[in-house]
Symmetry: C2
Amino acid sequence: MPDDQFQRDLWRGSLALAVLAALTDGPQYGYAIQKAVREASNGQLALNAGTLYPILHKLEAQGAIKASWDESTGRPRKWYRLTAAGKRQLKTQTDGWRAYASAVEALLSPKPA
Amino acid sequence: MPDDQFQRDLWRGSLALAVLAALTDGPQYGYAIQKAVREASNGQLALNAGTLYPILHKLEAQGAIKASWDESTGRPRKWYRLTAAGKRQLKTQTDGWRAYASAVEALLSPKPA
DNA sequence: CAAAATACATCGTCTGGCAATATATCGGCT
DNA sequence: AGCCGATATATTGCCAGACGATGTATTTTG
């Protein structure tokens, strides 16, 4: 059941989804993503640095995002932008997340007698 | 930030939440829970046996559920029911799940300009 | 000038979930 | 009667995700 597997992987890696989502409005660098995610979720999703950077590297290895250094600023920043594949992945996983969330909600809501 | 920690733990163990939820309408035995979860989520959450039983044992150890064997039927069945603590836990974690889900949704939705 | 924030990164560890495996009974089909 | 699939519980070994801790260096703020 590859479909099943997909659902599983999706919910497990939902922080990666958050990272992708943070890049929808244009390129960002790591530290800014961390803050953006925290703020967009009203502080509820605190993306740890030890979690964020591995995710970024993995997404890059997968080809979902592409990185480039900006040395012009004081501290060098590594900017990430979504690739075409990354945009597709974001859409697919967003749909998947919503399906998962509504499945959980169905379990939590009182069933019709 | 203990609050943060709570949020994290909640989303990680969301299958345990599903198990608790499956017991709201009265006691159930393992195999029935497995099917109930699968059906209530339209097949999207397939609770693996190797996942379910450890969860049940853990919830029991925590005192959230209580087990009793029914030997009267052919194959003996182990019935689980929510304890008072389990009901409280279900409510708390349900609220937590919804907060988490809406936080993720906030990230996925296009932000207001 | 010191402290806090910015900015990237890695490592070890813990935990959750899964596949595989094991055991045993029951119902239906042939 | 014999076989198979579904029922029913359970354990084990493995892998991946996430976290805390730690490290380095610069820049802003007090």
